[in-house]
Amino acid sequence: MSRTAEVDLNVVDWLNNVIAEHGSTPSALIPVLQEVQKKHNYLPEELLTYIATALNLSPATVYGVATFYAQFSLDPKGKYIIKVCDGTACHVRGSLPIYEAIRKRVKLVDGKATTDDGLFSVETVSCLGACGLAPVITINDQVYGQVTPEAIDLIIDVLEKREGM
């Protein structure tokens, strides 16, 4: 009990700082949610309620915004977030086989987006703005261009090795 309370207090302290930085007006909502998303890789429900109170908004408003934008996730995401670009340029150069290859390589089944060990999340995005290099993927903001299903194996091997797997 005492330990969780301590952790929560730290988070609340941090959150108070973030809110103070952006000002407690409704227009601060999206930047604050972005910071929470960045820190936790998702939006924990209890923090949403806290933010609503702090910004003088209804929890429904906060929930509405949190579910509108693709950047926000209400479920925890993996340590490595792999985004496969499925913009037009990447699509015509074969992004879907890449997507399938990654899912297969990290053993994602049944439409799940995150591996059970919490290591990888795999999602598609529309255009990363590097279309000249199609097909493109990013792993935690690192961009990889002209990827092939074979290159995927190498990239994931490196990450797994780093995680001691």
Partner: protein
């Protein structure tokens, strides 16, 4: 602090004079594309090699009376992303492509000795010709760069470099004119919005300028939602000061003292470069209070998007800055009358703004001498897909598609057969061979049922399935519909379902008529541009490629051989020895026949797993489409 023209020009002269004192400089592209291909390692390797030979100097050293040596500078995107990392040697203009860190020693050696590393020069993929200078390569030779003029030329993180390229002179001049005169200049130039609509920027500015209000805003739309376009990103990353200068000019013209740059969530590097640029501009007194001693104040803030295509629409973008769900609002009132926090607000696209400083500095006549009569100036296009030279280009408005795809783009990859160009992204349409000589400008494209849109230009060859592409775009818009309007929300969903049915081989001829009918209703019954244009890709492809749709629904055949469900696996009777091996491996028992006689596949049962193809020792089983 720069307070007047004299001081501004002094910074420019000093910089340019200092740069002349070096023997050569190496310009390294550090756009997103080249960075992904290892530009940073190349940069470090070049610096190491230069240092080893004791010829490495910095810009600051040259500015402080140093002399000789070679600088290396990282620049924004040169546009030729596929060939990256790119290194250009000045003053010779030699371009090295696909440079690896291991090549650094050779490049430095050659540069010091006034030689060229032949093997790193660009070779045209279709003709095999080799080019030394960047300016001679067809990809660059036929371009006219205005918005992208500095991208790849200057270090985006050094304001002095921007000033040395005549930066902030437009703002200085504007502040000596009256706000009305500035609006008039933009109006006279007939600069039209590059964000898709082509609405004259001057008209919008005039409306906002005419409003009485204690507060007004300028917003730069850097949301760049079209999946397949990246010009706005290149400008924000490669020439951020140009946006700052333009927004200050716009602010002065309409009487706004505050601006927002709304940047797409996926563009972290653009955000970082803009932040640096804003800070430098403040330090130089080019943002903040009493700019150029004119009494004009202007501040800029950056807003990061949170991932929603519809937020590129101006009223949705405003809602998003205000902290709400990014849903479009009915117009009027237009933002120029009542926008951000109900104050008069101008929203312009990044590329539109990128033209503004030069229009002010060089004048209206200069601008109008470029491009088409009704659409003056240039347009950038993101050239992608099955084209030999992918990348970012800028050409005068009204350049023909033939010129763009075949001269600059180098034609279709691997000399395959051209099929179509999809222009304008999910709101646009497709153009075919009969449009080769169509001038690419707002009005001509509109007349052909397509649109300039953001300028995404995706080349498709014979191996691209048009129906699948239409399904792809519909999937995108359906996903991104904000759900406010019933016809957009439900109509796009129904259209997607039908297209899905067709690519899976379950479509009928009536479905094609139904697509047209729903499409037209969605166009009429939607509030914002997303819904109004969502059916375009389907409707234009139905017009130009009806045959291909018919092949899918009547013959259950995909001529491009893309649609998996329409593939058929058959046994070539002449090659089949009747060994029965395939019948034994087929997991669903779809293969029948008598030993020593050709076997056949029951198409009803076949699941197209391909197991039989692999098992056949006589290569008698093939996939046909």
């Amino acid at each position: 602090m720069i307070r007047n023209l004299e001081q501004l020009l002094a910074v420019k002269e000093k910089y340019n004079k200092a740069m002349k004192k070096q023997t050569s400089s190496l310009l390294l592209c550090a756009g997103t594309g080249c960075m992904a291909n290892g530009a940073e390692q190349v940069y470090n390797a070049l610096k190491d090699e230069l240092a080893k030979r004791d010829v490495l100097v910095t810009v600051d050293y040259l500015l402080e009376d140093g002399c000789g040596g070679i600088t290396t500078t990282t620049t924004g995107c040169h546009g030729f992303c596929e060939m990256g990392p790119l290194v250009r040697v000045e003053p010779t203009g030699t371009l090295y492509v696909k440079v690896k860190p291991e090549d650094a020693a050779e490049i430095v050696e050659a540069t010091v000795n006034n030689q060229v590393v032949e093997r790193l020069l660009y070779r045209h993929p279709n003709t095999g010709e080799v080019y030394q200078r960047e300016s001679e390569i067809p990809f660059y030779k036929y371009q006219t760069r205005v918005a992208l003029a500095n991208c790849g030329e200057i270090n985006p993180e050094d304001i002095r470099n921007y000033i040395a390229h005549d930066g902030y002179q437009g703002l200085e001049k504007a502040l000596r004119l009256s706000p009305q005169e500035v609006v008039q200049m933009i109006n006279d130039s007939n600069l039209r919005g590059r964000g898709g609509g082509g609405f004259p920027a001057g008209r919008k500015w005039a409306i906002a300028a005419a409003q009485e209000s204690d507060k007004k805003y300028i917003i730069c739309n850097g949301d760049e939602g079209d999946p397949g376009a990246f010009m706005d990103r290149s400008v924000m990353e490669g020439d951020p000061h140009r946006i700052i200068e333009a927004m200050a000019i716009a602010g002065y013209a309409i009487g706004a003292d505050e601006g927002y740059i709304y940047v797409r969530a996926e563009y972290p590097l653009a955000v970082q470069r803009l932040r640096t640029a804003i800070k430098q501009a403040q330090e130089y007194g080019l943002l903040g209070k009493d700019i150029f001693g004119s009494g004009f104040n202007f501040e800029l803030k950056i807003k990061e998007g949170a991932g929603a295509f519809v937020c590129g629409e101006e009223s949705a973008l405003i809602a998003s800055i205000e902290g709400e769900r990014g849903m479009p609002r009915p117009k009027p009132p237009f933002p120029a009358v009542s926008g951000l926090w109900d104050k008069p607000t101008i929203i312009n696209n990044v590329e539109t703004l990128a033209n503004v400083p030069e229009i002010i500095r060089k004048g209206v006549d200069w601008f109008k001498s470029i491009g088409a009569v009704k659409s003056p100036g240039t347009k950038t296009f993101a050239l992608t897909g099955e084209v030999a030279n992918t990348g970012l280009i800028e050409v005068p408005m009204g350049t023909t598609m033939r010129h763009v795809v075949f001269e600059i783009g180098g034609g279709v990859r691997q000399n395959k057969k051209f099929k179509a160009v999809q222009i304008g992204g999910p709101s646009g349409g497709c153009l075919v061979e009969e449009h080769f000589d169509l001038p690419l400008d707002f009005d001509s494209l509109q007349a052909a049922g397509a649109m300039v849109g953001s300028g995404g230009l995706v080349v498709m060859d014979e191996n691209t399935c048009i129906v699948e592409i239409a399904r792809f775009f519909m999937n995108f818009t359906q996903n991104e519909s904000c759900g406010k309007c019933v016809l957009c929300r439900e109509g796009t969903r129904r259209m997607l379902e039908i297209l899905q049915k067709i690519v899976e081989g379950r479509g009928t001829e009536e479905d094609l008529d139904l697509l047209e009918e729903i499409g037209e209703s969605v166009q009429i019954g939607s509030l914002c541009g997303l819904g109004k244009t969502a059916p375009n890709p389907v409707l234009t492809t139905l017009k130009y490629f009806r045959e291909e749709y018919l092949a899918h629904v009547v013959e259950k055949r995909c001529p491009a051989g893309v649609c998996q469900a329409l593939k058929r696996i058959t046994i070539v009777a002449d090659l089949c020895k009747g060994c029965s091996r395939c019948a034994r491996v087929c997991p669903v028992g779809a293969i029948e026949g008598e030993i020593k006689n050709p076997f056949v596949i029951n198409q009803e049962k076949c699941i197209k797993c391909g197991a039989c193809i692999e098992s056949c020792k006589f290569n008698a089983i093939v996939e046909v489409s």
